[in-house]
Amino acid sequence: MSSTPAASSTPLPHRSVASIRAPSVAGQSGPTTPLRSISSSFGSPSSLRADDEIIIVEFGTRKLQVGFSGDPAPRGCIWFGPDQLRRAGDFRDWQPGYRHDWRSAAAGGSWGRDYELWRYDVRSVDLGLVGDKVERALRDAFTKYMLIDSRPRRMVWVLPSSLPVPLLSAALDSVFTRFQPPTISLLSSPLALAVGAGVRSALVVDLGWNETVVTSIYEYREVATRRSIRGGRMLVEQTHNLLAKHLPQGLEGDAESQEHVLSFEECSDIAQRLVWCRPRSTAGQEEREGQEEEDAAARSATVRIPLTSWLSPTTLELPFDDLSEPCETAFFDAQYTLTSFDDDELPLHLLVYRSLLQLSLDVRATCMSRIIFTGGCSAVLGLRKRIFDEVSRLVQQRGWDPVRGKAVEQLLANPKLQRAPAAARRPSNTPAAAPRAQDVGEERDGVWHDRSATPAGPYMEPETDPIEEQLKRGGGHSDQQPPVRGELRAIESVGAWSGASLATHLKTMAVATIDREVWLLHGAAGASKPNEVDHKVQRQSLGPGGLMRGSASGGAWTLGVWGAV
């Protein structure tokens, strides 16, 4: 700091150069141009490699998005479908009178399987086929949307963090042999979403195709994940069941057997176009009643749905309200009690609530005010609000107390057992009370010691956050409002792809960066566990050139959260 006034008082250029040497300025890490593409500034402009263009690929179960780093949105999106499985030169799709014979393709429980890239249950997956599908989709995207030649380019993949290693390995195999990228970096999509929302911590609710995954991110780390099989696939199944129920002849007992009467394509299309989600029913009963009379006429609205994939083309006419049924059954199943669900099929609101509940107090307070809804099913109109409202209600009812049941109620109702601190417990269970609860906890120190055994007890002492401290000290942003904590709030992200594009554009290092030669040598078996890799070494070897030669020379590398074989 001392040299800064000196530099300003003597505006001679050479003095300002000298000011770099002054240790105080160097302590602030000196002048930096971290955001310039460094690799292009030295060396010959190589025509064999296009180093500056990094391709970002986001993999989903049903689609794949591709673009360049630094772009706000992907350039192209490829959906997987049965026409992708055809041979080259097979143009029967365009023939007049041709109709895809979905019935035979759907036989044996593979209804809709052609529309997916992979299933996480790798026992039944042909891994070679997955590699081929990835290759063809990427090649299509590169030719149609990216308009790039086949020079090797670095790639960044955005993947769900629960992707099994065999699938990842098959995809990497295929792309490394077919496209020759020098390196592929892996980014987890919840993390990329958090970056894309501008937050360091978040609760990412990914309403995906296979399943709904709730990931808690704290300080750019995934701290907890919970999953439920209630996802897009279930929604389309339920849509099919709804439509099948309304078909003229009924199903004559076919509903029990897994026979599908409509094509996946049609059901998926209707699910995307027409299915909506009812708002939460119990809240604000009286105001809704008034509203109900108002649009009673609208309530009787019906929707005509032409169906072509049934035995004979027909047009269904069903009440608009019925179209919220699939969403109800697929995501909430409100007719069952909350205790009747298995661990892998929790209704979404319970899933979100439990995910928050299992977090420690500080993390929960931060995450609950940074909820990001994403995934294909977040496009179901009203679903995000419904989940949000249901979670708020759960929090209102239960607070953040993991212990529930009749015994607890008895305990609370029993005046004999009630001690003085128990009385103070109730107010702390009101929603959004995390910061306030801390105050209470500090007042009654003895209580806090008593209850420290429960993991999510509300009376934890606030930990000092070194990063916050640092910010307060050095940043001079003391006038900034403190970060929002402890209230439920949903925020928008630019999306996982765009988040990854941001992160890559800012030259953030991915934990898992795989070198082509090393991969072809060892495959997934060469990956070490994430904690065995010294990232400092990797970072340094990155050097100013951004070339990852260090890992090729025998350094350990990792697949990050995707694990090791």
Binding site: K144, R178, P306, A490
Partner: protein, 587 residues
Amino acid sequence: MATAFTPYSYIQCPCSDITLTDRRSGGSPTTSEPDGDDHAFDPRAPRSSFSLYPLEYLMYCEDCHQIRCPRCVAEEIVTYYCPNCLFEVPSSNLKSEGNRCNRSCFQCPVCIGPLAITSVETKPDPNLLAAPDNSATPLAGPYALTCSYCLWTSTEVGIQFDKHNGIHAQLAKLRNGGTTRLTAKERKERRKDPSYKGQPPPTDSQDLDHEAQFANLKAFYQGQLADPNAADAGLALLGDLGFSSPTSLSRIMSIYTGGGLLHDKKAKARLGAMREALDPDEGLLVASLDESAAIAKLRSEGLDGTASAAQRLGQAPNLVEPPLHGRERFLDSLRPVPHLLRTKRSKRCPVCRHIISKPESKVQTTRFRIRLVAGSYIPSISVRQLALSGGTGTGTSASGAAVPGAPLEPLKPAYFLLTFKNPIFETIKVTLGAPVTTPGRFASRVTVICPEFEVDANTDVWDEALKDNAERDREQRRRRGESISAGGGGINSANQLEVGKIWERGRNWVSIVVEVVPASLALAPGDPPLREDEDVLEIPMSVRVEWEAEMAGDEVGAAPSRSNSEAREKRELAYWCVLGLGRIRQR
């Protein structure tokens, strides 16, 4: 199924074979099928459709003597152009302007037809006396994009343009419904402009569309990553000195701060000190979860108000709206689609880097400068059904042509004529191999009557015609079943089926017969139904082509001796192909 079946042939590029075995040993332990020499290629496997190509799709590298499929060529881009206006786009534009035509080429979002720019104002009827005499002047006033096919106009989504040119730029500033927005460029300028510095930029969350949020986030992160103090004091002055080059800077820094480790630590500390975005200016957008208006709209409009999957798929990424979360399903959220650019590509062999295909760089021409298609190097196979009366075995005679495309009777032998046509100027020797039964659920029996034969060179047609009669006679006799040595019975055996004998022979082609016994398609009660095309009788066949070619000049070396013409080398090419013969009749 109603249409007649056309026989076809597909060729598997040898490149996929390598990776197939490679991957099997390395990556996937689940495919445990034994790998041996005898494993026949299975055209029914779902993976096969990724490696099979019609002959017309394949290229050939003259130097490696190998087939090159679209998967195993290296591509280079010759030109970028718009398929609608045929304007050639410089490659530098591509990075900045994106992959779509930024002139006035738009596709209809409903029916993909081309959109034309028309005036919204209707022309006054010239028959009216009151009409002013302005029919000659072009129409002024707001313009819209209209589709001449389905009559969609951009006014349906509330988009009108003030000028009739620069539509792409105007569209980027308009949201559906007609509200204007700031483009990324304007936003950046506004941020720099001191006159705007005092007043806060728009912070309305409705205004924070995808592009703006991304830009705000980027600016925020960049600001966080760069130390503000350093940027104020040091860097600004250094920039004047020409020290802004990052390499020199980092070198100086590493000299003065004593080693990279220290520097790295500091850099990390700085990274750690990044805070969160706190307001819309920094890219934080609080979600508005209330979607009741959209639900009400869906209720009133029903299915007709929503866009189909294909229409949504055709849309360019929507950068001008805040996250839609399902509202993109409505028809009025569709936007005109700028045409995707296309490329002309030249192809190289990935091994020897020789060019195997190179189109003319001019957009309008469709000619190629270099094009080494596989069809002029490897024999083509055509399939025709042969109707033979009588039973199986030798000695049956042909009785007219079969009905082409008719379904095959199960369990009844059928005969197919495979004609191999030699495109090169050397005589080739063809060896065929086919598994006795076809792989898959329904195993048909296959017998190649003559698995080994020679096809004459593709000589000039005139050579043939100018040969004297006697020679031609002898030639013809040789062709008819190579029966000169076997005695005179050769000529009238033209329609005889004999094991080891070819059926017919021409100047550069040979026909052989394949006998198939189609399997019965009867399904056991528990079986899954027939999959699409499972009733097609497809036979895998390994083809091995051998020929002797002149040594290439450079391979002979420094001594171009007189033996050059005699120096011939043996070449061979082996690949799998799949022949689709016909559909088997279902009971």
